[in-house]
């Protein structure tokens, strides 16, 4: 049984040890130091505490035979026949991981009338695409889709399963992972793979203030979800390659009492994730009236307007324009941050942008740590002046 054992005699100063634990799990009770149920086994007390005071006792665990699990699998997220672009990004990453361990890239596609979409997917470096088609898969319903995924995993035994962090992926991936009693790390921002096929799953924690490096060392498959725009989309390969394997499942396996009563397409909106240029409003723009300046600049640059959380909460922009850990992740060619202080949570949603220009009156604003171009000045004055020049330039 893994646990942290406290050796009281090695603790010279009881009053100091509680601070070792960021989770508040170290307590002093009746003159002894005890660890309570808040312990997350991060083992920082073992590392930083008085020598020998906290001892990590490893457990003996059953590990699967990793040689039996081969393949880097990607779930192709589709609605109405359209494959979500995050799936392409995952195919690119899968190809990279597969290359390191000599595994094939396999994909799962489920739905109805998916033939054309499946053919198109063969331009993205898939070795085997498993296509599950049935009328019962017309709309996403959790039970039939989980059944399909289960069959796919039993059939292919992949080492790794990558799922896009869409509304569907975030509902489906955990259910399947639980079915196989295996691990799933959500919203990874970095993936790598060890020679023994252990997946390195790295993601931000504590609001982006720290990065956590996670592994699933004893179980297979290793599930990870990744949000859109974290990885780059691969190039489409002109010549298709790979094979499509059609799997016909018995209707009984796809049975579910969930009924889709209606399905309506949401009005197509331009997403900020798709914009090449983003002009971002922070609280420093001071008044909602100044949003017009950003809107105009975005228009001139062929981009869109985004906002930080305070700006969205103030109602100056709709929620779908929020950038950050609890908003969207963006990776534009150019991001101009206007009056944005640059909290860690905001940075986590945009620090992958190619060029970051930040305008802020405060020379010590945290945004300047991640900006390529730091402009120390009053955005409410700079923008009108800039727009004047742009307009004058157009006329000339």
């Amino acid at each position: 049984m893994a646990e942290i054992v406290v050796h009281q005699d090695k603790i010279p100063d009881i009053s100091a040890v509680a601070d070792l634990c960021p989770f508040g799990a170290i307590e002093v009770s009746d003159g002894s130091v005890v660890i309570n149920a808040g312990c997350k086994m991060c083992r920082l007390c073992v590392k930083n505490g008085p020598p020998g005071a906290f001892e990590f006792v490893k457990e003996r665990r059953v590990t699967v035979d990793k040689d039996l699990w081969k393949g880097i699998a990607v779930y192709l997220d589709q609605t109405d026949g359209a494959i979500h672009p995050v799936s392409l990004e995952l195919l690119g990453k899968a190809r990279e991981l597969a290359g390191k361990v000599g595994h094939p890239v396999i994909a799962l596609l489920a739905g109805t009338k998916m033939g054309q979409a499946a053919d198109e997917m063969l331009h993205y470096g898939i070795d085997k695409l498993y296509l599950y088609e049935h009328a019962l898969l017309e709309h996403f319903r959790i039970e039939p889709y989980t059944a399909v995924f289960e069959d796919f995993i039993k059939r292919c035994q992949p080492a790794v399963v990558l799922v896009g962090g869409t509304a569907i992926g975030r509902s489906l991936a955990p259910r399947v992972a639980a079915r196989f009693r295996t691990g799933l790390t959500a919203d990874c921002t970095f993936l790598d793979i060890q020679k023994n096929t252990d997946l390195d799953q790295i993601r931000p924690a504590f609001g982006g203030n720290i990065m956590a490096h996670i592994r699933t060392p004893h179980n297979r498959p290793q599930f990870a979800t990744v949000r859109y725009k974290i990885f780059s989309a691969p190039e489409r390969i002109a010549v298709a390659s790979g094979e499509i394997i059609r799997v016909k499942l018995d209707a009984a396996l796809l049975a579910s009492k969930i009924e889709t009563l209606s399905s309506s397409r949401k009005a197509p909106v331009r997403n900020i994730e798709d914009a090449d240029v983003l002009v971002v409003a922070g609280q420093g723009i001071q008044r909602v009236e100044n949003m017009a300046l950003l809107t105009e600049l975005a228009e001139k640059l062929g981009g869109m307007v985004g906002g930080t959380r305070p700006v969205i909460e103030a109602g100056w922009l709709e929620p779908r324009r929020q950038i950050g850990l609890s908003g969207r992740t963006v990776k534009p060619k150019l991001l101009i941050a206007c009056g944005v202080s640059g909290s860690v949570q905001f940075a986590a949603g945009m620090n992958g942008a190619d060029k970051i220009v930040a305008i802020n009156i405060d020379p010590d604003a945290p945004i300047f740590k991640i900006a390529h171009t730091a402009i120390v000045g009053d955005v409410c004055e700079i923008l009108p002046s800039l727009l004047e020049k742009i307009n004058a330039g157009e006329v000339a």
Binding site: G24, A25, T182, I210, M211, L261
Partner: protein
Amino acid sequence: MKIIVCIKQVPGTTQVDIDAETGVLKRDGVEAKINPYDLYALETALRLKADYPGASVTAITMGPPQAMQSLREALMMGVDDVVLVSDRRFAGADVLATAHTLSQAMMLMDDWGTGLIVCGQQTTDGDTAQVGPEIAEFLGIPHAANVTAIQEFSAEALVAKVDLPTTEEIIRIPLPCLVCVNKDIYTPRLPSYTLKKASRDRKIRTVTLDDLPDSDPAHYGLNGSPTQVVWVFPPEHHVEHERWKGSTEELAAQLYDYLRSEKFLA
């Protein structure tokens, strides 16, 4: 009709600093609170109860003893019963172990198999949004995530609006089932002082590992967790910076030239 709501106590703030040398996490000592997303789950449950005579709402949480405070807040919002699931042996639990623990504790409740379980979308500390679907899998019941509205509710089924990537759908899902409700599904009510007084001396039941149907410690806590944190480190900032200073006019001119030379402007 039993409605169970899963809640979690989370840190009051996620402001953490990490010492790059020692890897020590320094956390601001701000009070813990109910995960804000769970307030929407609680509100959903309380509204459904209002429309269904005889329904009762139970809030359940897995956590250290201080999580009891979140249960007290749930009582102040109007839930009928609360359960704390707490044991040192649950320490270090990842999503799978947490979902297993909670589903085991739910199996101890009367009528758990006939009702509805409501979860919030995600937590502000873990952010995974996985525990709800995993609980449903362990209990062998269907689930629906991304629920933005509940249109009908009966002992047989629930009709809900769900928000999917490109579509909005209305589904009918039979009970027993689990739903994960989105933020803004309703406006959560505030705790009531009257309920606070009424529940102040209420004893809260604690469920430990020994109470659970599956009493094998290997299935809980760190041992029951397939994912493990192997390391934590501060995020890196490798950026080449250029800092501009000057008058408004100078800066605007410099920015205009920059945008033109980088071909963002003609």
